[in-house]
């Protein structure tokens, strides 16, 4: 009886696993096929990967787009981890009457969709461009700034800080650490898993970010990977082999980061639930 139950569960799980993994397999297989074969729905690996890759390098500036995406993503991840963790820590550890009000406002701001903020934000950057063109429209900084920290990330860090043992904090203070010292020498090393989870979330969001970079980055030399992929599909006779190859390349960094930090990610996410 037990065995039948197990077999049943495993077969159901296998079906779901296949369903969720199939798009990835199809993506990788398509990257090795010609465009015509992709449209015909060929599911067997082909021999055109190198050809697709060369065509890709010939048609678009892949490397600059990768570099742009890397700069924006890394800067966003590092900065938002620092800012959000400091904010989340502050919200949980320190006492203030206004704290809860401020935090509620912050949570409410999570409910406003980005599309509604886009036009005012663009206007704002239009004005900034006149004062400081270096961080105005059509600069990598402008693509990065609005996502440098999010209400969600602050919330995430605050929830996790609840698990942080206060005794450690007191011990640090007694041993003569400054408040920042406590944060950097005790809090940060203890909360590694939380940082890992937050890093994955931010990295993925920033790497795949499309709408804001789309409106704010005008020059082709500033384009990021998602914009490049969007352009590849703009033709009325698109080359799906090239598109799939680009998507594989664009997926690699996120996959890599995820697998490297996977162990911490699960632990970090569990922490936020407790």
């Amino acid at each position: 009886m037990h065995k039948i139950k197990r077999t049943f569960i495993y077969s159901i799980l296998s079906i779901f696993a296949i369903i969720s993994i199939f798009p990835f397999i199809w993506m990788i297989v398509s990257a090795t096929n010609k465009s015509v074969d992709v449209t015909k729905g060929r599911l067997l690996p082909g021999t055109h990967l190198v050809e697709n890759f060369q065509n890709l390098l010939n048609t678009v500036d892949l490397v600059p787009a990768l570099v742009n995406s890397a700069i924006i993503t890394m800067a966003t991840t590092v900065l938002s981890l620092i800012i959000a963790s400091l904010a989340g820590y502050g919200f949980e550890i320190y006492r203030s009457k206004a704290k809860d009000v401020v935090f509620t406002i912050l949570l409410v701001s999570m409910m406003i969709p980005f599309a509604a903020l886009m036009i005012p934000l663009f206007r704002m950057f239009g004005t900034i461009s006149q004062i400081a063109p270096g961080i105005g429209i059509d600069t990598l900084t402008s693509a990065m700034l609005p996502s440098i920290t999010t209400a969600f990330l602050i919330f995430f860090f605050r929830q996790n800080t609840k698990m942080f043992p206060r005794e450690l904090l007191e011990a640090g203070r007694i041993d003569g650490l400054t408040e920042l010292g406590v944060f950097f020498r005790i809090f940060v090393p203890t909360m590694k898993t939380t940082y890992a989870a937050a890093a994955i979330i931010t990295f993925m969001a920033s790497w795949n970010n499309y709408l804001w970079p789309l409106v704010v980055l005008q020059s082709p030399e500033n384009h990021t990977i998602p914009l490049l992929i969007s352009n590849l599909g703009s033709s009325s006779s698109p080359d799906f082999g090239i598109i799939m190859t680009t998507i594989v390349i664009a997926t690699l960094p996120t996959a890599l980061i995820f697998f490297l930090l996977q162990r911490h990610f699960v632990a970090g996410m569990m922490g936020s639930v407790k």
Binding site: M118, P133, S230, S235, S237
Partner: protein, 429 residues
């Protein structure tokens, strides 16, 4: 404390890296306002972008001083960028020239009239096919320089037709009723359906009603015209007949669309001439295709010509507009040789009438059994009835997609269209 210092250093370094990386961007930004540089946005690297590069080349031979930056963006991306910039009133980063699809043009021109630079008088409108001039003008003022035609044709598989006992001659200037009858016979003989369509894209309806000089809106471009639109009613009936007789194959995306005709699954393809390169992509079918005039609507005033898609060039009212106008009028606005290159190198058919006299237009295409398809398409383009596309083509079509499903499910046609009319009127006001 050292760690903190190091951290701050790293942050500063990152910010510095970003701003130095972006300084290139700001320079070209300033550059576009420069007297000798213009920027153009367009989509489709194999079509519009190539056409621009040819135009740039032709222009540079006489005007070497002007630098033309061609920037490729997907069409939806251009729409998004334009809407954000124009509605926030920030012209920074906008190009001098932008390509806009004809169906969408009026929504931009009427929503942001001051942002576009009028072209009235800078080119000969009578040299361009009339439906295109209408699509690019508002209140008698020309804003767009017409580019490619979406002139439609009926691409047919001559081998399938032959199996059912038809020749290409039997399909010249037919109406939709005759087309359906032929389709039934072809299906009997070959087992192939007549055509394939995406149920979420009613392009076929647009081509039907435009062949009768009608649109989803009346001539003023704003009055919704669905409930009492006889051409639309008839088009709905024909669509249903195609579905009921199992002559219509459904595909869900572009990918599948190409695969259906490349794989020989359908006997005909009815769409704009821009599909030609995709049809020719399957080289093994060379000699098996022909193009005949688009079917007309039976029993009413309707021609054997219609349009699907097509775009035009618009000049934005930002510094450098004089150069932009000069570039457009000397290339797309008057250069016959350039249009020959569009045909031979890209397969793009323009709407500039004098160009049709050129050699390239008369070339016979072996893929289509030696037919001069370019000259045929440009002949049909001149017959396309002009209509006012108005501002809401795609919004109305979203409503009609639902209406069509209700009609196919058995609801009464008049009721379905009346409801669509009401919905469109409340939604679009």
């Amino acid at each position: 404390m050292k760690k903190l210092l190091a951290l701050i250093m790293v942050c500063m370094l990152l910010l510095a890296a970003c701003s130095s990386g972006s300084s290139n961007g700001t320079e070209s930004e300033k550059g576009s306002a420069d007297a000798n540089e213009i920027t153009v946005w367009a989509w489709d690297p194999n079509f519009n972008i190539k056409a621009l590069e040819l135009a740039k080349e032709a222009y540079a031979s006489e005007n070497p001083d002007l630098k033309v930056n061609i920037i490729e963006n997907a069409q939806d991306d251009i729409v998004q960028k334009l809407n954000t910039s124009l509605s926030s009133g920030t012209t920074k980063g906008l190009p001098n020239i932008v390509l806009i699809e004809d169906y969408r043009a009026k929504s931009f021109l009427q929503a942001y009239p001051d942002m576009f630079h009028p072209l009235t008088g800078s080119f000969e409108t009578k040299d361009f096919v009339q439906y295109k001039v209408e699509a690019t003008s508002v209140d008698g003022e020309n804003y767009g320089l017409p580019f490619d035609t979406g002139a439609t044709g009926l691409y047919v598989r001559t081998d399938y037709l032959a199996e059912a006992g038809y020749t290409v001659e039997d399909l010249q200037n037919i109406d939709w009723k005759e087309y359906i009858e032929i389709g039934k016979k072809v299906k009997e003989a070959t087992g192939k359906r007549l055509l394939t369509y995406d149920p979420n894209d009613l392009g076929i309806l647009r081509t039907m009603i435009q062949s009768a000089g009608k649109w989803y809106v009346k001539e003023d471009g704003t009055t919704i015209d669905l409930a009492n639109n006889e051409a639309l009613k008839l088009s709905f009936k024909i669509y249903k007949e195609l579905v009921d007789n199992d002559l219509m194959n459904f595909h869900s995306d572009w990918n599948e669309f190409l695969a259906t005709f490349n794989g020989g699954e359908v006997a005909t393809v009815t769409t704009g001439n821009w599909i030609t390169p995709s049809i020719k992509a399957e080289a093994s079918q060379s000699g098996k295709w022909a193009v005949v005039p688009h079917p007309s609507l039976p029993g009413m005033e309707s021609v054997n010509a219609s349009n699907l898609g097509g775009a035009s060039w618009y000049v934005l009212d930002v510094p450098g507009k004089e150069n932009a106008v000069d570039f457009l009028t000397k290339t797309f606005g008057s250069n016959v040789d350039l249009y020959q290159k569009f045909v031979t190198e890209i397969g793009a058919i323009g709407t500039y009438i004098p160009a049709a006299e050129g050699e390239a237009y008369k070339t016979k295409d072996e893929f289509f059994g030696g037919q001069s398809i370019v000259s045929d398409f440009s002949k049909w383009a001149e017959e396309i009835p002009q209509v006012n596309y108005g501002m809401h083509t795609y919004a109305i079509e979203d409503i009609l997609v639902v209406a069509m499903q209700n009609y196919l499910a058995g609801q009464d046609l008049d009721k379905v269209l009346k409801e669509a009319q009401q919905q469109a009127e409340t939604q679009i006001k």
